[in-house]
Amino acid sequence: MNKTNCYAGKVLRVDLSSATVVTEPLNEQWARDFIGGKGLGFRYLFDTLPANVNPLSPANVIALFPGALAGTCVATTTRTAVFCRSPATGTILDSYVGGSFGLQLKLAGYDGLIITGRAPRPSYVLVLDNRVEIRDAAPVWGKPIWETDAWMKEQAGDDHLVSLAAGPAGENLVPFACLTSEAYHQAGRGGAGAVFGSKNLKAVAVRGTGSVRVPDIQSFMAMYDDIFHNHLLTDDNLWAYEEGTPTIVDLSQTTGLLPTRGFSEGMFEGVEGINSTAIQARKSRNRACATCPLACGQLTHNTDGPMEGPEYETLGLGGSNCGIDNLDAIIAFNRLCDNLGLDTISTGNVIGLAMLMAQEGIHDFGVHFGNVEEYLAVTENIAHLRGAVAELARGSHHIAQKYSAEHLVMESKGLEFPAYDPRGSYGMALAYCTSDRGGCHMRAFPVSDEAFGNMDPFTLEGKAALVIEGQNFSSVKWTGIFCDFWAISIEDIANLVSSGTGHPYTEEELPTIGERIWNLGRILNVREGFSRKDDYPPSAIFDRPLPAGPAAGKNFTREEYETALSEYYRLRGWTEDGIPTPERLAALGLAGLME
């Protein structure tokens, strides 16, 4: 086969119900319009996923799309997007995993893998180039992920096999169950692990021995050599190598937005136990995703063994938010979550909420701030649905409703907040609540301009435009898929994607493609019944200002939020109810995709 651009030219479809495997040509028009990763996955999902299916039914779809440039040498682009309807939120879900899974899938010859149906018995999908099999996973059903991965390698007789697997939490349909690849890489948010579990799908394991080409390798490498040495290995990005995300802990502490004790506070007296200095004291080396020189993984350890991390979100939600300042315990928590298949952000949230409920006298689940033994036991029990705390596995939204703790919970659309309290950086409220997958900081990140930058963090004025710009730009970045930690310019994205795909994308055009992708995400969510009514922060944001620190006493009003949300919709070209207008969709090349 004569491949002329970075696409493999094929999409693999596996139906678990009928045990059929089909390879089809890549839809070239979609590739041109949506590039890869987030965009291409959304487009395929729009076609493959029926509206209003139960996320844990066989009708849900799992799609895996690496970035368009996966398989080339371009840093970070082997990241893979995992798509499905989220069991946590009911929204569309795109969740990203690093490592080298995407590299292997592309080298195996596929731009994407779409999984439908439900296997009659525990199974895993094995992809060895053009040999694709649905295999028996009974020996590892119920087993933790690391053991599962080792078993699949042994079965294949290939140490280079790379898997993406669900743990016991996914099998138990925990709505915040993640997928783990290469031990410490997760498609963390939104519950893709539970969708695997609902399909009797333990894992997808891939090994590719093929190649990836670009149209003109000389000019591609000349361009990349310049970008690599002059735009990537710069101070803007090398913080990731030196310290990685734990460097954010002190930033959040000093700006007073570090989630502490169930988001009841924004500063943590035990911060020195969980900050970058504490991590660096444990660090033995750097670890990387495929192709990435930034190698942001800080390898640490506790007495149980090594850990790549903990990352900032885990230090915040699993640390300060649970009142835990003991790094050994947070590493143990992180290892449990990665191995049992739990998202550390949602898990840290729900445990923190349970601890706060005990403190407030609402309900005592037997977990209390700062108690390490309880904290680690509850994490295991959530994954295995053991004991009285099993109901915590249903997530913060459910717990808050059942026990009348809605005034304490921090989530949007059922997805718990990441570790940037919006009361310390107001734009984050709009970012979380307009995010396509619920409370998420990876679509727009206004805190970097607000509390961590020069903009006033305590106003919503001007933030709608900032959030939209971030969402459109990240939508473009996630087609590559370029990592969040590479502050790549739109010009470099345009040049690399053009050179790789052979289609000339311009700097001016890319933000429009980002907007197209964002609107397609909104179409998918509107189809599931989402509208303005779902785009609001929880009441604590309005009613419970933080008690101390730079954000003490700060909150915006419901009226101010209404104004910002209306402005957001207006700038998006959506109706007052948050529905994309036919005119706007037509202008974005999405005519006819919404009833």
């Binding site: 410490y184 021995t209 190649s211 290995l233 670890r287 190698a295 090594p306």
Partner: protein, 155 residues
């Protein structure tokens, strides 16, 4: 001088493999690379390996076609494409290498060993963490290099 490896600095990113294959074959194909990374993600460790033209070079004697030669120890191997016939897909040189640093290209059916890119190894330029280094012998640093860092099997 051959390449030097420091496994402790290897992050497991595979970039050297991609750069190697694109430099030699114009495509990104880790299975055609002359430098390879073995990852042990759970332990957080990796090993990077390429032919460093070891003192004994048992591959030379193992080749039934006498296709492997070198100017001397620590000088890159030369695999004569006119002579190498890939041993019908079961190359004798690959298992003969005690370091697992001899590979086989299933596309061309030739054995693959690091050729130092003719004296300007491309992988080194892209190994920011410094797990692979190269000294062309012209710099005084070459003489000062610790023998410990020469051993590719050690961390």
């Amino acid at each position: 001088m051959p390449l030097k490896f420091k496994n402790k600095l290897c992050t497991g990113c595979h970039l050297c493999e991609l750069i190697c294959s694109v430099s030699h074959f114009g495509e990104f194909a880790p299975t055609r690379a002359r430098v390879r990374v073995s990852n042990h993600p759970l332990e957080g460790k990796s090993e990077v390996m390429a032919c460093f033209s070891c003192p004994d070079a048992p591959c030379i004697a193992a080749c039934p076609q006498n296709s492997i030669s070198r100017a001397g120890p620590r000088q890159p191997l030369f695999i004569d494409p006119e002579k190498c016939d890939g041993c019908n897909g079961d190359p004798a040189c690959v298992p003969a290498c005690p370091y697992g640093a001899m590979y086989f290209d299933t596309v061309t059916q030739y054995a693959l060993a690091c050729d130092l890119c003719g004296g300007d190894p491309q992988c080194v330029k892209y190994c920011h963490p410094g797990a692979i280094s190269f000294d062309n012998g012209k710099s005084p640093v070459a003489e000062a290099a610790s023998p410990a860092t020469d051993s590719p099997a050690k961390e």
